[in-house]
């Protein structure tokens, strides 16, 4: 796309995720009772990569879940009808240390929905948030605990995180809203 601006290439992404993994392990002093829960769609592969990094650091298996927030959105009738996707939890979330993983933190509404969705599955010990990009413009009192990169943006821009599992390559770009891809 002509007018897009590259923020991270694949090496940048890999390094950012590795750093975040270190921060997570440092914060929890290990990985005990940790469960990473990715938000559909791109939070799911990002959660898997973080889990893989943490598993390497701590030599232990990390539980990974996926969460679909469409049934919890507050804007269902004002946006294109979203396709519901499966929510999977590999184990009960009771007493777990949950880290929600998403690609971009923007208004905070998705995370609000995710918190609602999560508590319907049980009562975790704690919930933290990890995002690859924080682009500002929050509309709710929500902040991320682990951030790959803070990026100041205009509301006329979209931040597109691309992951090889879905998009065939790893990169992050800023795109004018007029050139937004449909495959969100």
């Amino acid at each position: 796309m002509a007018n897009e601006r590259l923020l991270l290439n694949s090496s940048d992404m890999r390094r950012a995720l590795l750093r975040m993994s270190h921060e997570i392990v440092e914060h929890y002093q290990g990985a005990e009772n940790l469960m990473l829960v990715g938000l559909h769609r791109r939070g799911v592969p990002l959660a898997a990569r973080l889990a893989s990094c943490i598993a390497d650091l701590e030599s232990s298996e990390i539980l990974i879940g996926s969460l679909d927030i469409n049934l919890y959105r507050d804007d269902l009738t004002s946006r294109p009808q979203p396709l519901v996707r499966p929510t999977t939890m590999p184990a009960s979330i009771d007493s777990k240390k949950i880290i929600l993983v998403d690609d971009v933190l923007f208004t905070g509404r998705s995370i609000r929905s995710a918190l609602d969705a999560l508590v319907d599955h049980g009562r975790p010990n704690s919930v933290q948030l990890a995002v690859l990009i924080d682009r500002g413009h929050r509309e709710l009192p929500i902040r991320a605990d682990y951030v790959g990169k803070n990026v100041p943006t205009s509301t006329q821009e979209i931040v597109e995180v691309r992951v090889s599992e879905i998009d065939g390559k790893d990169e992050v770009a800023v795109v004018p809203i007029s050139e937004r891809r449909i495959n969100s």
Binding site: R41, D68, N70, L71, Y72, R73, L76, T77, S78, R79, P80, Q81, P82, L83, V84, R85, P86, T87, T88, D116, A117, D120, H121, G122, I166, I182, N183, S184
Partner: protein, 326 residues
């Protein structure tokens, strides 16, 4: 399920399955599997239809279908209000048209209607401007959500329906379940065989002309050979009194689905029934409670499927461009 299929939008009503494409059915069944996960949680409720008003207008006795819709609506946080034949103005002589217009004026977002007369949901939908209509069974005509939940159950149990044989046994003439299932099964690519008393099968389906996608075989022992799904229909016992059947005893002897007859079906074949079952008439008791019977699974899938359907209809937005990719 392939990716890059557009969600089929633009649907306001669900009156029958005859206007569903295969991809629309596939998308809906995919959503239903997600809903089934919700249904299996400890906390089954999600807030997606908060603030939506769903009315069930059941002008014919039915408990299981109404409860299934009600549960589906409530688990999605819609407000579900039930109106039944006994409590409604229908018995005070108000016409169906006026009842429907009144419900629309009360700003119902969706009306689920069960009516003893074929075509009543079409009549209601034709006269409503804003409210969606879902057919929960109209006379002998259609029962589209039953058709969809049956497809969902078949997919879960035996996978793709391509080149699979589905046998429908019993009173096809009076069966809205059969009519809707025929549309759904045809869309799914199944081969359909019908068996049952010739007095209870539409005459034009008995001609077996080559344009007909359906084969009629009155002899159940022949019809059942090599089938993958055996779908038994409910037999109304009043058919005997109305001269359409010599006796229930003779029906049972000729068209009851039994263990002996299932021997000639495929090994993995399943048995289905839309309920409520007349035990020992349509299906032998022992078979109905055996592991090949998918009857209870049908009921669970019914709730999940109806959740998916309500979600789809009430979160509709015509600018939908999102693609399906799993």
């Amino acid at each position: 399920m392939s990716s890059n299929q557009k969600i089929t939008p633009n649907r306001k009503h669900v009156l029958d399955l005859d206007d569903f494409s295969k991809s629309e059915i596939d998308n809906l069944l995919h959503s239903a599997t997600v809903m089934k996960e919700v249904l299996n949680r400890d906390i089954k409720k999600v807030p997606s239809l908060r603030g939506k008003v769903i009315l069930t207008l059941f002008l014919e006795a039915s408990t299981r279908t109404r409860v299934s819709f009600e549960e589906a609506g409530k688990l999605l946080s819609a407000d579900v209000i039930n109106i039944s034949g006994s409590g409604s103005s229908a018995e005070k002589g108000e016409s169906l048209l006026n009842t429907a217009l009144t419900l629309q004026a009360m700003r119902a977002d969706l009306i689920i209607i069960r009516h003893p007369l074929s075509g009543a949901p079409y009549f209601v939908a034709r006269h409503l401007d804003h409210t969606s209509v879902v057919n929960a069974g109209d006379g002998r005509h259609a029962h589209p959500t039953q058709g969809l939940l049956d497809l969902m159950t078949i997919y879960e149990k035996i996978g793709s329906l391509n080149d699979k044989k589905v046998l429908i046994v019993g009173d096809v003439l009076h069966s809205r379940v059969a009519r809707s299932n025929i549309h759904g099964l045809q869309a799914a690519g199944a081969e359909i065989i019908i068996s049952g008393p010739p007095t209870l099968v539409p005459l034009w389906l008995q001609s077996n002309d080559k344009d007909s996608p359906i084969t009629y075989q009155p002899n159940l022992d022949v019809a059942i050979q090599g089938t993958d799904v055996v779908m038994a229909l409910r037999l109304q016992t009043e058919r005997q009194a109305s001269g359409m059947l010599p006796s229930i005893r003779e029906y049972t002897r000729r068209w009851q689905v039994t263990e002996n007859r299932m021997v000639s079906a495929n090994n993995s074949a399943i048995i289905m029934h839309p309920g409520p079952l007349n035990e020992g008439i349509e299906i032998s008791s022992s078979l109905a409670h055996s592991e090949v019977a998918a009857i209870n699974e049908q009921v669970t899938n019914g709730v999940a499927l109806r959740m998916a359907l309500l979600y789809q209809l009430l979160t509709f937005n015509s600018e939908s461009t999102e693609e399906l990719a799993i």
